[in-house]
């Protein structure tokens, strides 16, 4: 693959993701003020000492945005990684074992998917204590149902191939077949899916935080920042739109890259059209 073959839209996406990751990694060094420091009057306009203005408590919006990148990306990424590990492990097990295990997992997955994700999350989070690892786990488990469905479909395609049959006849165990035969052959379609789920995780986390059920204050996180500043909207103060724009921007960037990855894998298959 040559660098020049990457379309502009994908470059834009890569640049955006890099910027967000840079902010997340080096937040304490590049943020002009502290995450929780009250540095000025409330809802100061953009410009001057505060490039993006201040928020509802007088904290610097840019600094909180940079620190928020850290929380948002970390939680979304952790949830996506866990959901993928869980979903892929279960779906591959189901596809390789077949029979009763497959039926059990698939029907339970259908049941989980019969409840809308957000509603399910609201019901579960209403009961559980509000802690970060619980939030990550709930997001991961709910998301893994989607991974399971895709993973099973992909793995079933591979599981009937001759080399899997050969491995079985060789007497390899289930875990060998899953990790050495199926996994390497399903990675590329699942990579695009990973990006897609990551973008969805960011949006989902932000939605939960916006509803007051995600990351709890005073930690900065983009969805929570929208919630903090939403009352300013009526007075024409756009502070809430800045973190909202950041969420949208990052999700768009991830989607642009995923779009390109998907087009690439589908053209490799030599399909007619891009359906």
């Amino acid at each position: 693959m040559r660098l020049s073959s990457i379309p502009i839209s994908a470059w834009v996406g890569i640049a955006g993701i890099t910027l967000a990751l840079f902010c997340a990694l080096f937040a304490p060094w590049i943020a002009p003020y502290g995450e929780r420091d009250v540095v000025g009057d409330i809802w100061l306009p953009m410009g001057g000492d505060f490039p993006l203005g201040t928020d509802n408590l007088g904290r610097d919006l840019l600094s909180r945005l940079i620190f928020g990148a850290r929380t948002t990306i970390f939680v979304a990424l952790a949830a996506t990684v866990i959901s993928f590990s869980l979903g892929m492990l279960l779906s591959f097990t189901a596809a390789v074992t077949g029979g009763f295990v497959d039926q059990l997992f698939s029907r339970f997955n259908d049941l989980m998917m019969a409840i809308p994700t957000l509603i399910f999350a609201l019901v579960v989070l209403a009961v559980l204590p509000q802690q970060l690892w619980i939030l990550i786990l709930v997001m991961a488990v709910l998301d893994s149902t989607r991974v399971f469905r895709i993973g099973r479909a992909v793995a079933l395609d591979v599981a009937v191939m001759e080399f899997v049959e050969a491995a079985r006849l060789r007497g390899e165990g289930t875990s060998w077949i899953i990790f050495r035969e199926i996994l390497p052959n399903t990675l590329s379609p699942l990579l695009a899916e990973f990006g897609l789920r990551f973008a969805f995780s960011i949006l989902f986390l932000s939605t939960l935080s916006f509803l007051g059920l995600g990351i709890q204050p005073p930690a900065a996180d983009w969805g929570g920042m929208v919630k903090d500043n939403k009352d300013g909207i009526i007075f024409g103060i756009s502070a809430a739109l800045v973190p909202g724009g950041a969420i949208a921007g990052l999700a768009i960037c991830v989607n642009l890259v995923v779009d390109w990855l998907m087009k690439r894998t589908s053209s490799l298959k030599g399909g007619r059209g891009d359906a």
Binding site: L111, G223, I252, G273
Partner: protein, 369 residues
């Protein structure tokens, strides 16, 4: 697939989930979850009925499946919540939770009774439309829901009314100009649109139309004595938000579904025969594309029902979503469970409708395997 519904747009356009299987499976009701009850009870009669009236039997089977699924969901919403750690009484009292006080509250709310008894009571009430009383406000949950469900449906109905025709038209336009400028523009714009969180779109619209231009109202409060016209103008912005959020998904999925048909062998044959583009679409592609498109629409309507939650919170609209979110923050479990069950019921119903409509539109689905 609500939450999931949203981002499955691009996934559908490629990869293993594409094609017939992905589409026909997208409703969460397939499989043999609850076929036994109907089959076992009616025995040989059911067999004869299946042979004589295959279509009716299939539809009845789907209906039974949905009812069973709904029952399982109710068990999950109630039982799962009970099984999870965390206790309303302890949370409610906070620091001042002495064992005695916790005990009293549990007794007050009837939490000291055994789990099965409470579940059966709750389910029995729910079937009759009685969801008990709210823990926080001591009001009847059903009464509140009765007021708010109508508001939410009002909102979702108008959003669907605008978005469905628009999405199908844009999707067809994208297919017509595939890989040319209009398609590329639609592709990029819709890719951006599915990445926008609902609240961002909502606040953007509020800032622009309500605050700066002053042509729309915010907050979007509606009350009983309001006229129909007033109501419509109050929900203009929430509807616009919902349409923007749902439109991109629906359009992308429509495009993928139609393209899927357009790339099949018989359309290629028609092309090679030298038929005109219009004739190919009208005579060969459209009848086969109806089923997937109907499926797409139903799935997105199901998503709309959930999208209502965030939009209602943004616009302070007195609907089910806001009621549920408020209840979740104070851990008012009867309200949360009732709203959860109702949302899930709508979701399951729309998915079932998608399934049945797809079967009606596509005779091939009547003979699985």
């Amino acid at each position: 697939m609500a939450g999931g519904g949203p981002i499955t747009g691009p996934a559908l356009s490629t990869g293993p989930a594409a094609g017939g299987e992905g589409l026909s499976q997208s409703a969460p009701v397939p499989g043999a979850l609850v076929t036994p009850p109907t089959g076992v009870v009616t025995g040989t009669f059911w067999r004869r009925f299946t042979l004589r009236r295959p279509l009716a039997a299939l539809i009845i089977q789907r209906l039974g499946l949905s009812v069973g699924l709904l029952f399982a969901v109710s068990l999950m919403i109630f039982g799962g919540v009970e099984a999870l750690p965390g206790d309303f009484a302890t949370t409610y009292l906070g620091q001042s939770a002495t064992p005695q006080a916790v005990e009293n509250i549990r007794k007050d709310l009837g939490l000291d009774k055994p789990l099965t008894e409470r579940y059966l009571n709750w389910l029995g009430g729910a079937v009759k439309g009685d969801f008990g009383t709210s823990w926080a406000s001591k009001n009847s949950v059903s009464e509140q829901i009765g007021n708010r469900l109508g508001n939410s449906l009002f909102l979702a109905f108008f959003a669907a009314l605008v978005s469905v025709p628009l999405a199908v038209a844009l999707g067809m336009l994208a297919v017509q100009y595939r890989n040319r400028l209009p398609d590329k523009i639609i592709n990029v714009v819709s890719l951006a649109a599915i990445s926008l969180p609902e609240f961002f779109v909502g606040y953007l619209l509020i800032l622009f139309f309500a605050v700066q231009l002053g042509v729309a109202t915010f907050p979007a409060t509606v009350y009983d004595s309001m006229g129909f016209g007033e109501r419509l103008s109050a929900i203009a912005l929430p509807v616009a938000t919902l349409v923007l959020v749902v439109l991109a998904h629906m359009m992308r999925m429509t495009r993928a579904a139609i393209l899927n048909v357009m790339s099949s062998a018989y359309v290629e044959t028609a092309e090679l025969k030298g038929l005109s583009a219009f004739r190919i679409i009208a005579k060969h592609a459209a009848p086969n594309a109806v089923a997937p498109v109907i499926n797409v629409i139903a799935l997105n309507l199901a998503y709309l029902v959930v999208g209502v939650v965030v939009v209602e919170v943004v616009f302070v609209y007195p609907g089910m979503g806001q009621y549920m979110v408020d209840a979740v923050t104070v851990r008012d479990m009867p309200v949360v469970q009732a709203c959860g069950l109702i949302f899930a019921a709508f979701y399951i119903f729309l998915n079932m409708a998608a399934d049945i409509l797809a079967i009606l539109a596509n005779p091939r689905l009547r003979h699985p395997r």
